[in-house]
């Protein structure tokens, strides 16, 4: 029996990226995937949601076209067309991954991976079992939607992100439980397509993890679009009447209300997939696999990356973790650095942030300065007709170290990459002020906010 240097269980952005790097470093790699290559990200997450959000943006722009003198008659929309376009995008990307894996001679096994011990993994497919032997194992089995305990939910037909991207028809109305990133992105999509959307969120604001001002800006934008946002609301029970989902919601104050809609989407969070690890004695942090700074589990030759270890549940974090593990398997002792992870929300008022948030800084008692620059003053934003938004930088006043940034506005999910660059190269706000940015561009806001921060505001 051949022994692999590393067997990776799970073909999402954590697993397949580790496989590609491992193979290009000369390791003998096997990749086991139970469903489809690309994982949640490609099949039920980042890519389908962003494809749909583009549709939402196009529809919104057509509507706003009138102001610019563009008159479009008879705009129509086909759910079927959108789904099949999305599927073609997914297919292309999946094929891309497949051919990369093949080109690097990675052995891909289609089946369920099950760790027998630190050296053996079983692949189960169609009742056939194969045992593979290996020196190292990477668990990259990701996560699935978390279903909260709500009275009556089990008797109701509801959607999760596993099914929502394959709807056959556009619902007239939809209730989304959860006002986090996934909830607001899908609310934006379905509202743009024409559904009457309600968001129910338990905490006092949507995207509660993000900057308060950003959260307010998005709330306003979604509200103006016609989305009904109920914060401080808890769903206490669900039932179905005449094909309509009836949700009893309770305010924190105790008041009750009933929300009815054609479809129900549960988007309250995700839970790790631990099916591969039931035979071994792993340490856990709640339901998530516990790892050290080097992403090693309590069994030293078994590593875990991505959503299955909790923390940031983001595709690029999963990939970075996968690459880090390969370094460690190669003996290069590399720690994960989570201090500058960009976090993006792709609603049609985009939000992107990086580094420490104002809340982090406050809770740590760090002495910091905030400088805010409004997008309104930016020429390019005016030409785009997207003037809502701002950039905020949190800095220390002594050295001008950039602690964090938060951006709201068009394409900020692309612009935040500049923030990554400044911060990872330890550039300070002084370097940021000196860099020449193209004109007219949204990038100019970096130069503006940095100059403002050092007391040399330009515009």
């Amino acid at each position: 029996m051949t022994t692999f240097d590393v067997i990776i269980i799970g073909g999402g952005p954590g697993g397949y990226v580790a496989a590609l790097r491992g193979a290009s470093e000369g390791l003998r790699v096997a990749l086991i995937e139970a469903e489809q290559l690309g994982g949640t990200c490609l099949n039920q997450g980042c890519i389908p949601s962003k494809t749909y959000l583009k549709n939402a943006e196009i529809l919104e722009e057509i509507e706003q076209g009138k102001q610019r003198g563009i008159l479009v008659k008879d705009v129509d929309f086909s759910m079927e067309g959108m789904v099949s376009y999305k599927n073609s995008v997914l297919n292309n990307l999946r094929m891309g991954i497949q051919s990369l894996l093949k080109a690097r001679k990675i052995e891909v096994f289609n089946g369920l991976g099950l760790i027998k011990n630190s050296q053996e993994v079983e692949v189960i497919s169609n009742n056939e079992k194969t045992t593979l032997s290996t020196k190292n194992i990477i668990i990259a089995t990701g996560s699935r939607p978390l279903i909260p305990k709500v009275d009556g939910l089990e008797n109701v037909q509801y959607h999760t992100t596993d099914t929502i991207f394959d709807l056959k028809t556009l619902p007239k109305s939809m209730t989304i439980v959860g006002g986090g990133v996934i909830g607001v992105e899908l609310a934006d999509v379905f509202s743009s397509l024409g559904s009457k959307v309600t968001i129910i969120e338990y905490s006092n604001r949507i995207i509660a993890m993000e900057d308060e001002e950003a959260s307010k800006a998005l709330h306003k934008k979604l509200h103006d679009k016609g989305i009904n946002i109920l914060t401080n609301h808890l769903v206490t029970s669900v039932s179905e009447e005449n094909g309509c989902k009836m949700l009893v919601v309770e305010k924190k104050s105790g008041e009750k209300d009933v929300i009815s809609s054609e479809e129900l989407l549960i988007a309250v969070g995700r839970t790790p997939n631990n099916s591969a690890t039931k035979h071994i004695d792993l340490a856990y942090n709640g339901a998530f696999i516990k790892v050290n700074d080097y992403l090693q589990t309590n069994i030293s030759s078994i590593y875990a990356v991505g959503d299955v270890i909790g923390g940031y549940q983001l595709a690029h974090v999963a990939s970075a973790e996968g690459l880090t593990v390969i370094e460690n398997i190669l003996g290069n002792q590399k720690k994960m650095d989570y201090s500058i992870v960009p976090r993006c929300i792709y609603t049609n008022l985009q939000i992107a942030s990086i580094g420490q948030s104002e809340n982090d800084l406050k809770s740590k008692g760090v002495d910091y300065t905030v400088t805010k620059y409004n997008l309104f003053g930016n020429g390019k934003a005016q030409t785009l007709g997207k003037k809502d938004g701002f950039v905020k930088v949190f800095t220390d006043s002594k050295y001008g170290e950039i602690y964090g940034m938060c951006m709201v506005g068009p394409y900020v999910t692309e612009l935040i990459g500049q923030g990554s660059a400044y911060m990872s190269l330890e550039g300070t706000v002084y370097e940021m002020a000196e860099m020449i940015q193209p004109h007219p561009s949204l990038s100019e806001i970096f130069m503006e906010v940095a100059n403002l921060s050092i007391g040399k505001g330009v515009h």
């Binding site: 002594k398 050295y399 170290e401 190269l425 330890e426 550039g427 370097e431």
Partner: protein
């Protein structure tokens, strides 16, 4: 084809060695097994021997140069043979012209040159620490380390503000770039070791030879009141004597005469006339030894041992050379038989192969005195009203003041100085 002579790896932990001296001139013929150069590791000085007979074609480094293990230090081959490797090693033929011009400005070793080329370093900016300010590989490495472009803007601001010298910082960022973390860790370095990351801290229990040494050294230090006398010796005559005796003794014993052998001889000779130092205090009794048995400290990977040459004052220099070389060879090969270490009456600790001028040795109990030997350096000295360059060496004698008084110790040092400065007399 020319054959390479490389810096040998003489121990598991050895990473580089210093070429103490070349024993063969360019062009000279060497027999297989003959020593080519003296190499100093972190512990000892050893010789690199010719693996086959041939002519020494070219030395790549000057004496004093530090060279990484396995790196080529010289080439051997047929007489007047051209060495192609050297050209590949130091420079491609294309830029030979530019090289010649540069050569005028900067003296450099081939390895330094290659490293500088690979990293685009302007050698004229690198301060050389080799002989005649020759730029060595280590100098280029140091220069690369302190390259100011290799610091992040934030770290640079912090360094300025905290008034730290960025040359002292070790960069942990990409390609050794100094980051905020590096500055902070330099600032907090003084905090307790417990706070340090355990991964950076290697702990080894005190055991075996190390433990014995630790116990004996502290016992000696705390029980015997140490007094140390120092003096400077003009070794010029010894240098001459050694040169003259080298071939003679080598012929007789097959070993090379070292300065240490001469010093052992001189100490034994002096001690036989100063028996007040050849004593020991044990259980409230003073032992006056008749025999002069000189021990000399030998450093091993795991610690330190002091083998003894019995009746050192009775035997000739050639015999001292033979016995000491054989004992050391055996010890280094792991033969630590007890008879090597018994009956010592006086110890010499020689750190002359290191950059040590003088030090205060701790007495090797139950003996009552120990001599510390520093390196030989050329210095301007005044002789007959004129400044001349002579080879000088410092000696320090630590003695147990419970049983030895200052005067006999001083007399010993005076006599020893006299003997070493007129070593020919000793042999008569």
């Amino acid at each position: 084809m020319a054959r390479e002579v490389v810096m040998p790896k003489l121990g598991a932990t050895m990473e580089e060695g210093i070429i103490v001296s070349w024993l063969v001139n360019d062009g000279e013929f060497i027999e297989e097994g003959d020593p080519i150069a003296e190499i100093q590791t972190d512990k000892i000085v050893l010789e690199v021997e010719a693996e086959s007979s041939g002519h020494l074609l070219k030395k790549l480094y000057d004496a004093g140069s530090t060279v990484k293990v396995h790196e080529v230090i010289a080439y051997m081959g047929e007489e007047n043979e051209a060495i192609e490797q050297i050209e590949n090693f130091s420079e491609s033929k294309d830029n030979k012209l530019e090289e010649v011009n540069e050569e005028e400005k900067v003296r450099k070793t081939p390895a330094a040159n290659k490293l500088a080329k690979d990293n685009g370093v302007d050698l004229s900016l690198v301060p050389g620490t080799g002989p005649n300010s020759r730029v060595q590989k280590q100098d280029v490495e140091n220069y690369l380390q302190q390259d100011t472009s290799k610091i992040t803007p934030l770290a640079q601001k912090m360094v300025k503000d905290l008034k730290i010298d960025d040359k002292d910082l070790i960069g942990s960022g990409q390609h050794g770039k100094i980051t905020k973390k590096d500055v902070l860790s330099a600032v907090t370095k003084t905090t307790s070791t417990q706070e340090r990351e355990s991964s950076q801290l290697k702990k080894v229990p005190l055991k075996g030879m190390r433990k014995v040494i630790a116990e004996r050294m502290s016992e000696s230090y705390y029980t015997a009141p140490h007094v140390t006398l120092t003096t400077e010796i003009n070794m010029t005559e010894c240098v001459i004597l050694r040169k003259q005796l080298l071939p003679v003794i080598e012929k007789e014993t097959g070993y090379r005469l070292s300065y240490n052998d001469l010093i052992v001889k001189a100490v034994a000779h002096t001690l036989s006339k100063n028996k007040a130092l050849n004593i020991s205090l044990q259980n409230n009794e003073i032992y006056f030894y008749e025999e002069v048995n000189i021990g000399f400290a030998v450093s091993l990977d795991e610690g330190l041992v002091v083998p003894v040459i019995e009746n050192t004052d009775q035997i000739g220099l050639a015999e001292i050379v033979k016995r000491s070389k054989e004992i050391v060879a055996n010890i280094k090969n792991g033969k630590l038989s007890p008879e090597y270490f018994e009956n010592g009456t006086f110890t010499i600790s020689n750190l002359g192969m290191y950059a040590v001028d003088s030090f205060t040795p701790i007495i090797n109990q139950p003996q009552s005195a120990i001599l510390g030997v520093g390196r030989i350096v050329e210095k301007p000295v005044v002789k007959n009203g004129e400044v001349v360059i002579n080879s000088m060496m410092q000696l320090s004698l630590s003695f147990d003041h419970r049983v030895i008084d200052g005067a006999p110790a001083a007399q010993f040092m005076t006599d020893l100085k006299e003997n070493l400065e007129n070593p020919f007399r000793m042999l008569v």
